[in-house]
């Protein structure tokens, strides 16, 4: 709660100071607020764990900053610090955009901490509406405009579906709060009933969430929107939106569906997850544009992340957290380097050519993040995949097999990027500021630290 407030205040301050001050200063200010918010997370309001659901939990508070909420908000705030720090000056100048990013982050944090469908909906909208604007923030760029319109149309559609789901759920259980919904779900599950209102309601809410994480068959927007949006917005969508949506998705299961019906909905989710993994990886294979490729990679990663929802909540939480740490740092690195090398306008693989010769350090970091995304041991990506796959193995063996096939396919396109960067000759060059080096160093530390000592990193969650 404290960190949420700090971010909100920070967003307003940035918005207003930006009128006079140049963008650079407002970014510094924003990052200062975010760091403060990050530091406040451990002191944030304690709550019960979502997997120890109890009666006292819900009706009074509509948000609860329990351990999973705090852990995921930490990742989100850290991710936003990366994005603001590394992508300054890539978009149109203007502190209003930075304010929007921070408002969007507030929505993301609400999505990690809701205990009530209303809060969840508000979180999703607070997250999405600034993004519609951000996607179109390059006003003179036709593709940016197209992306904004597409995103807005599809988003509106999914919001409508989500709201319809909420309405149905209200109709069936007379409440939006986790308490009454969980009760209802348990009642339905124990009596082996299938009341249409409740079932359709849950289905529609899940579909709304699936849209946000870009799961099959609701993922079609993401390659087009990623490609057209300005780089900073794209990486924000790829990192913050995805992790926030997964956190909300994850929270929805133990909190509202509960153990009684976990298997029923788990089966559907497993199918979605399998299709998402296949579609994401296969789609990525033939892409030439790096941003589209990363969009498909993000779809595939969403598929893996969905596996974390299927497994027992506590294990799933740990696995998802570890995975998201690796996902955030690797994606931030790739997008940063892509942003730098594509400054000349070339947005295909070829943009990376010659990086290995001209900037050994940058090429090394790029390779490391690719290895992590592909899930090669000693990187965070491997630790996350290992935790997810090994926990899902006993109950969802076919899903794990498909996920492994997907990972094998993914090596094909991830390694292609670093083949271009290292083996091919070209002009790619990266000029880094000190801040960039520090932030990249932090991201690399996270990839390697989580990859080498996952047990130790999980220990952090105990505090």
């Amino acid at each position: 709660m404290k960190s949420l407030l700090i971010i909100f205040i920070g967003a307003i301050v940035v918005l207003f100071t930006g009128i006079k001050k140049p963008e650079k200063k407002s970014i510094g200010l924003a990052i200062a607020f975010l760091v403060m918010a990050l530091a406040l997370i451990p002191f944030d309001m304690m709550g019960k764990l979502p997997w120890n659901f109890e009666i006292k939990y819900a009706p009074i508070n509509m948000v609860a900053f329990d351990i999973s909420a705090r852990a995921f908000s930490g990742v989100l705030i850290l991710g936003t610090i990366f994005i603001l720090g590394l992508f300054s000056g890539s978009d149109r100048k203007g502190s209003d955009l930075i304010g929007l990013v921070m408002f969007s982050l507030c929505g993301a944090i609400l999505m990690t901490s809701f205990t009530n469908l209303i809060m969840m909906f508000l979180g999703i909208e607070a997250l999405s509406i600034p993004l519609y604007v951000l996607a179109g923030s390059k006003k003179s760029d036709l593709r940016s405009n197209e992306a904004a319109i597409k995103y807005f149309l599809m988003g509106a559609f999914s919001t409508a579906i989500f709201l319809m789901g909420c309405a149905f759920l209200y109709g069936s259980s007379k409440g939006f709060d986790a308490f009454s919904l969980h009760d209802m779900s348990a009642f339905v599950g124990h009596n082996h009933m299938s009341p249409p209102l409740f079932t359709v309601g849950i289905s529609l809410v899940l579909i709304g969430l699936a849209f946000k994480v870009s799961a099959f068959p609701f993922h079609f927007w993401s390659p087009d929107v990623y490609e057209g949006s300005p780089n900073r917005t794209t990486v924000f969508m790829a990192v913050i939106v995805k992790i926030a949506a997964i956190a909300a998705f994850y929270r929805f299961f133990p909190l509202i569906i509960g153990e009684a019906q976990a298997v029923t909905w788990g089966t559907i989710l497993a199918c979605i997850s399998a299709c998402t993994i296949l579609v994401g990886n296969i789609g990525a294979l033939r892409q030439k544009s790096v941003k589209r490729l990363l969009a498909y990679s993000g779809i595939a990663q969403a598929g893996y992340l969905l596996m974390g929802i299927l497994i027992a909540p506590e294990k799933g939480f740990q696995a998802l957290w570890i995975y998201s740490l690796g996902y955030v740092s690797a994606n931030v690195i790739v997008f940063y380097l892509f942003n730098k090398v594509s400054a000349g306008g070339d947005e295909t693989f070829a943009a990376f050519r010659g990086l290995g010769r001209n900037n050994k350090g940058a090429a090394l970091v790029l390779c490391l993040s690719m290895l992590s995304l592909a899930g090669i041991p000693l990187t965070a990506g491997f630790a996350g995949k290992y935790l997810l796959f090994s926990s899902a193995f006993s109950d969802y063996i076919y899903l794990v097999i498909i996920a492994l096939i997907g990972s094998a396919i993914s090596i094909g396109y991830y390694f292609r990027i670093f083949k271009e960067a290292i083996l091919m000759d070209g002009e790619a060059r990266v000029q880094m500021r000190i801040v960039d080096i520090l932030l990249l160093g932090l991201a690399v530390t996270m990839i390697l630290g989580v990859g080498i000592l996952p047990g130790f990193v999980i220990q952090i969650l105990q505090f």
């Binding site: 299938s194 079932t199 289905s203 529609l204 579909i207 849209f211 087009d224 294979l285 033939r286 094909g412």
Partner: protein, 630 residues
């Protein structure tokens, strides 16, 4: 006893310092730092040894768990009993002398600091090998010394032949290592542990099938074959002479190659249970000893002669092990470490003086120019020949006596092999140091005695080679200090306090026979090389059996034709047909399928919003429909 850890950490630290900072330090410094690191280990080992003299209980220390899985635990643990302590003294003591020697020997080499880094790394690994308290530690050290041996044989890697020799040593060792590894797997499977304490417990062994114990012993011995250069895995050792001479002295004579002996002595409880394994060890040892001695007769490279001599002497040690004379083997290991290190360093001194010349046909008459080298080399030769009262005399005679107890025919063969040793060593000695100088004028002009850093280690080793026999005198000579080493080692090896003895008369007989054989050999060599001043013929002039021996019985060629070529042909076939055509084809077809699917999918993703919404609606209908129908 934290000393245990310091003993292994000191050379490791030396390795780190000379390896990382050596480039930036003044040249001599690295050598002294490295030597100091080994000296620290030696001093600590010596104090440990002193402690063990009064109290034979092994000192054990566990540090952390390597592998923990269910009930199966392997720890990083050190354990020092009297056997280990003795090995440690040999490794660090001789290691130190050779380090000091190398400071002068390698002084003009570009890779000076690298050389000392590798030497220190070797000492570290060797100590792990002997000090570890379980088979995994042993294996760790085993592979580590193998790596260092590879690095040092190929130290002058610009020379392609040397690089190939290093590779050969590595590959041959890997074959042996495979046997050792399988043996260790069997041990882990049968005993559920790799700790020496648990595996080498006679009470436990009773429960294991005899066939399994034999299998384990044979596999462990295959590992020993590789490391200690026994038939058929010995061919790497002569080639390993490509490395700098101090390396040959340290690794390929005194320490690493004795790891196989140490392994068998350490696991002798297992070998005690299996007659077949012991006979196998005995026969292999005997064949190796005779074959290598025969080859040694006709070699003209001074280091090659010494290398074959080492193979032959190692064969002797295995003969002792096969006859269950573990103390005799350790005794010979010790004296051999003294005199063989001495001989190698002596040959190094000669090579150094002649600016890299190794062919004895181009030496001769060095007696006058290099008196210290000559005298020490002479003492070393007498020691290895088993000249009465020199160290080799006692250690070899003890082995011969043990073999005699075992089987008279084998004994006769061993005596023959000892005679051969005498011939080829005296041949080298005389051709090198007597007669007239046969090298170039320029070499003659430069001929000089080596500096003190080289001659001092020679003198120390010479003293040890002469008096080393005191360690384990036979009772025939003196009752009060007899069997010193036997008494020392018996608690570690669980042996009887007083060894079983032959009657004094038959002991005397044996000694007389050996001495007569040696005298014959002396006479033959004197007649041929001093009286007639024969110089070994050039390669072209050789014929008959001599040529076969000079060409090492064509063993390398036989290996090539019988193993390497068939394997290469099969490999070629599987590469072209199986791998390229079928397996690659299959794998590529997966890639093609994935690509084709990607193309197909690309048609769905056409950028048209209406289509996207259509897919979404289809998805919604499917999911909601499925849930309602259910």
């Amino acid at each position: 006893m934290e000393n245990l850890l310091w003993i292994i950490l000191s050379p490791l630290a030396g390795f780190a310092i000379s390896g990382l900072a050596g480039k930036y330090l003044p040249k001599g410094t690295t050598g002294w730092i490295a030597s100091l690191a080994v000296l620290v280990s030696f001093v600590l080992s010596f104090s440990l040894f002193n402690g063990l003299l009064s109290n034979p209980a092994a000192i054990k220390k566990e540090y952390f768990t390597f592998i923990g899985s269910g009930n199966f635990h392997v720890n990083f643990a050190l354990s020092v009993d009297r056997l280990t302590a003795m090995m440690m003294l040999i490794v660090t003591g001789i290691g130190f002398l050779i380090h000091v020697y190398s400071i002068s020997y390698m002084h003009s080499d570009e890779g000076f600091y690298k050389f000392f880094a590798f030497l220190n790394l070797f000492i570290f690994n060797m100590l792990i090998l002997i000090m570890g308290s379980n088979f995994l530690m042993l294996f760790f050290g085993w592979e580590g010394v193998g790596l260092c041996s590879y690095l040092l044989i190929g130290f002058w890697y610009q020379n392609e032949a040397y690089g190939k020799a290093a590779r050969k040593a590595f590959v041959m060792n890997r074959i042996g290592d495979l046997g050792l590894l399988i043996g260790i797997f069997l041990i882990a499977w049968q005993f559920g542990s790799l700790d020496y304490d648990k595996v080498l417990d006679p009470a436990k062994l009773v429960a294991i099938a005899p066939g399994m114990i034999t299998a384990i012993c044979v596999l462990l011995f295959i590992g020993a074959m590789g490391k200690s250069a026994q038939i058929p895995l010995y061919t790497w050792l002569p080639d390993a002479m490509a490395g700098p001479t101090p390396v040959s002295a340290l690794i390929h004579a005194a320490t690493m190659v004795t790891a196989g002996i140490y392994l068998v002595v350490r696991t002798h409880v297992l070998f005690d249970m299996s007659v077949f394994a012991r006979e196998f060890v005995l026969i292999i040892g005997l064949c190796t000893s005779i074959l290598a001695a025969l080859i040694g007769l006709k070699q003209n490279d001074i280091k090659k002669v010494l290398a074959y001599s080492t193979v032959s002497q190692l064969g002797f040690m295995f003969i002792a092990l096969g006859s269950q004379a573990y103390v005799a083997a350790m005794f010979h290991l010790t004296t051999h470490a003294f005199f063989k290190a001495l001989l190698f360093l002596g040959s190094g001194s000669v090579i150094h003086a002649l600016d890299g010349e190794q062919d004895i046909r181009k030496m001769g008459g060095l007696r006058k120019a290099m008196p210290i080298t000559f005298w020490t080399f002479l003492l070393g030769t007498l020691a290895i020949c088993g000249f009465p009262y020199f160290s080799g005399f006692f250690s070899k005679d003890e082995i011969l006596a043990e073999v005699y107890k075992h089987n008279v025919v084998l004994w006769a063969l061993c005596v023959g092999s000892a005679g051969l040793t005498c011939i080829y060593m005296l041949r080298v000695l005389i051709v090198t140091f007597w007669g007239t100088f046969r090298g170039s004028e320029e070499q003659k002009h430069h001929l000089h005695e080596s500096p003190a850093l080289i001659t001092i280690p020679l003198v120390i080793l010479a003293v040890l080679s002469v008096f080393g026999g005191i360690l384990n005198l036979p009772p025939l000579l003196s009752d009060s200090i007899a069997h010193g080493m036997h008494h020392f080692l018996s608690p570690a090896l669980n042996l009887a306090e007083v060894p079983e003895e032959l009657s004094p008369l038959s002991q005397l007989n044996l000694v007389v026979v050996t001495v007569v054989v040696l005298a014959l050999a002396f006479w033959y060599v004197r007649h041929k090389y001093i009286a007639k001043q024969v110089v070994p013929e050039t390669d072209d002039a050789m014929s008959g059996m001599g040529k076969v021996m000079a060409n090492k019985f064509y063993v390398d060629e036989i290996f090539d034709a019988s193993l390497v070529e068939p394997i290469e042909k099969t490999s070629d076939f599987t590469y072209k047909w199986l791998d390229r055509k079928w397996i690659d084809g299959l794998v590529n077809s997966f890639g093609k399928i994935a690509n084709a699917m990607s193309n197909l999918y690309g048609k769905m993703q056409n950028g048209n919003l209406e289509y996207y919404l259509l897919y979404m609606v289809a998805g919604i209908i499917l999911i909601v429909g499925y849930n309602l129908m259910k």
